[in-house]
């Protein structure tokens, strides 16, 4: 399979290519339809709206107290023996992790799934320093074998079907070509066990970091997360600063929302709560546990009352599963670490609007993402806000604000506004437009690609209404 690089700048071309690829469309359609049904069924017995209210309040409370909770988390982690590091951006976080590896002469890193590590391109950074970084989540492992990036934040290899995966594993690892998923899974298990045994460092993400206890919570089904955090002598957890929650009892509601929203499961196989390295009397577990807290643009989002809601996200992926655009174009089309609606409201802050200006517009504003969001992020409102920022009509506090501002468009709207508020001029112009209607262009750029160009009416509506009233009046008099 050829290696293709995707960028947010090429969104339109990538969307065009994806729409013309029946394999991609079929893979996503089938998967997303299944996930939507499973999500709906999994909330069966619950008062889902009350649970969403609770989830939203927990996340908002955590954000309201964010600096205090981060300090509390740090103090409690340290008291538990977890070493805490802070990084202002992805590069600093990569450097921190590389230095931790180098100081321990670590050459082999095994990874559990972590979107933050994808966001900061940790694997590439480590490889450059001669440190092998191997993904152990099956989907991530396949995507890495295929020299790709994840196309979905929960199901990284959702764009590949069984035949493609069979061919990939055959080419890269020498397994038999087969559609037997049990065989392929068992083969990956065997390949990865050896790597777990030989790994010097395990790197994982964090789903919830609990401030009051200094606990790192990891949600997973495969057991690779437990392996990554238990087998190597050193565990480095990396997370965005927004993942903190205040209390341990804040975790069950968020966990209940996360698994159901993500995959329609009532629970995952493992919920792994780590509150420290191996104690002297214990016989397994890592000797060292490190927590790397990464800002990477989050504290900028935090400044603005409306944009703040972006940081509530618990990374379930329900917004992409329900997005009619994502379902049709797939995850790679967005060209960003986080695709779909959440990516479209998050990536402009991480990469600036210049690079990501097309993403907030990659939505029909149908509202499905906002309706399913387990923590009630008003995603459609945030998409609109970023569209405004892109054309310079917002607060101007997003990097690259105004990049899409088009002087001709601004003038055209200003002119229209003036005409529409001056009746005499309006009547004159519609009358002129009607007379010269044969001269209006039939091609108006992308607008007329799938539509007929509008033509001014030969007689304006105002005139028609006036005549109609006159006729009525005359009939009434006679």
């Amino acid at each position: 399979m050829s290696v293709q690089t995707y960028t947010p700048q090429a969104f339109h071309r990538q969307a065009h290519d994806a729409l013309g690829n029946p394999q991609i469309r079929a893979n996503f359609r089938q998967a997303m339809d299944g996930l939507m049904t499973k999500r709906r069924d999994s909330f069966g017995d619950w008062d889902v709206e009350a649970l969403r209210d609770l989830g939203a309040s927990i996340r908002l409370r955590a954000l309201a107290k964010l600096p205090d909770l981060l300090e509390q988390l740090e103090a409690n982690c340290q008291a538990n023996g977890i070493q805490v590091h802070w990084a202002q951006d992805g590069d600093e976080a990569c450097r921190l992790i590389r230095e931790l590896c180098e100081a321990r002469d670590a050459k082999r890193v095994i990874k559990g799934k972590s979107m933050v590590s994808e966001e900061m391109h940790l694997n590439a950074h480590l490889e450059e320093a001669g440190i092998e970084a191997l993904e152990s989540d099956l989907g991530e492992y396949l995507v890495q074998l295929n020299e790709q990036t994840p196309s979905h934040i929960i199901m990284p290899a959702i764009h590949l079907n069984t035949d493609e995966i069979s061919d990939l594993m055959h080419a890269k690892t020498g397994t038999d070509k087969t559609r037997d998923v049990d065989y392929l899974t068992a083969a990956a298990r065997q390949q990865l066990r050896e790597r777990f045994m030989n790994a010097d460092v395990g790197v994982s993400g964090v789903n919830f970091a609990v401030a009051e206890t200094g606990t790192l919570c990891l949600v997973e089904n495969e057991g690779n997360g437990r392996m990554t955090t238990t087998v190597p002598p050193v565990h480095i957890a990396v997370t965005g600063i927004e993942k903190v929650v205040e209390h341990l009892h804040d975790v069950p509601p968020l966990y209940a929302l996360l698994t159901r929203s993500a995959t329609g499961q009532h629970v995952t196989t493992y919920f792994n709560m780590i509150s420290g390295p191996r104690k002297p009397e214990e016989h397994d577990g890592p000797r060292e546990v490190h927590l790397v807290l990464v800002d990477n643009g989050r504290s900028s989002i935090y400044q603005d009352d409306e944009l703040l809601d972006t940081l509530r996200c618990i990374r379930c992926g329900a917004c992409m599963n329900h997005c009619p655009v994502y379902t049709r174009v797939g995850g790679h089309t967005y060209g960003t670490t986080y695709p779909g609606p959440i990516g479209s409201i998050l990536m402009p802050h991480l990469q600036g609007l210049e690079a990501t200006q097309d993403l907030p517009s990659a939505s029909s504003l149908c509202g499905a993402c906002g309706e399913v969001c387990p923590v009630r992020i008003p995603i459609p409102d945030l998409l609109v806000r970023l569209r405004k920022e892109a054309v310079g009509e917002g607060r101007g506090n997003v990097e690259g604000a105004g990049v899409k501002r088009n002087r001709k468009e601004v003038l055209a709207w200003k002119g229209w506004q003036w005409l529409a508020t001056h009746p005499g001029a309006w009547r004159a112009s519609t009358s002129v437009a009607g007379k010269f209607r044969a001269l209006t262009p039939s091609k108006l750029g992308p607008w007329t690609q799938y539509r007929t160009a509008p033509k001014p009416a030969s007689t304006p509506l105002h005139v028609l209404v006036k005549r109609h009233r006159q006729v009525n009046r005359q009939e009434g008099e006679s």
Binding site: L70, T185, S275, E282
Partner: protein, 217 residues
């Protein structure tokens, strides 16, 4: 200024001013009000739905059920603790039998490969069960280390029917987890699984392929 201080400073000196924390209403999390029978039925339904295998046994002769499971699954090498009553009773019952009992209270560095390659099953106690999600909760100890429930292809967990509670929310409160967190607390709900290959469910991708829960009454 350190990264830590600049991040905290930026968060504290927020452009739009300080934020007010909303109230949280947790009532949706509790008050299931199930009887012990309902609790057990919920637990069994949920954990069976994710491929867990439930076997009921009497507390007096549960070790017979264990022996039967080991025979049925063809287990020859079983990892088991020494101190927990579950481990002690299991060791007594299996002593001198066909199943080799493997000591697990050894530093893992001394038997890493042995554990990965030759251990066929791990037996652990559990601290309790959660009815709503069909989950076991474990706090691994030096006697029953974390990897005993993770590395072998079969995990046999012993659960007493009377320690099943309604929800995780209840368990965290009633056992005061917030003041007692161990280095590793685990919820286990079924065997290891993945759906990463075209949404097709497959078991035992990294952890155990099978989870047997011996429920003692």
């Amino acid at each position: 200024m350190s990264a830590r201080d600049s991040i905290l400073k930026r968060l504290r000196e927020r452009t739009d001013g300080p934020l007010t924390a909303p109230e949280s209403d947790y009532s949706v999390m509790g008050g299931r009000g199930w009887t012990p029978e309902q609790r057990l039925a919920h637990f069994e339904e949920k954990i069976t739905s994710v491929h867990g295998e439930v076997i009921h046994a009497d507390r007096s002769n549960w070790a017979d059920a264990l022996t039967q499971v080991l025979t049925d699954k063809g287990v020859k090498r079983l990892g088991v603790g020494r101190e927990h009553p579950v481990a002690r009773e299991a060791r007594e019952a299996l002593a001198g039998g066909a199943v080799e009992l493997i000591d697990v209270e050894r530093d893992i560095e001394t038997w890493q490969r042995e554990q990965f390659e030759t251990l066929e099953a791990g037996l652990t106690s559990t601290r309790g069960g959660i009815a709503e999600t069909g989950s076991l909760w474990l706090w691994p100890t030096p006697d029953e280390p974390r990897r005993l429930s993770l590395v072998p292809p079969l995990h046999i967990a012993v659960l007493d029917a009377d320690v099943i509670e309604d929800t995780l929310f209840d368990v965290i409160a009633s056992h005061d987890w917030a003041n007692n967190m161990p280095t590793n607390a685990l919820l286990i709900s079924g065997p290891s699984k993945t759906a990463d290959i075209e949404q097709t469910l497959a078991y035992g991708v990294h952890g155990p392929r099978e989870l047997v829960i011996l429920v003692r009454h």
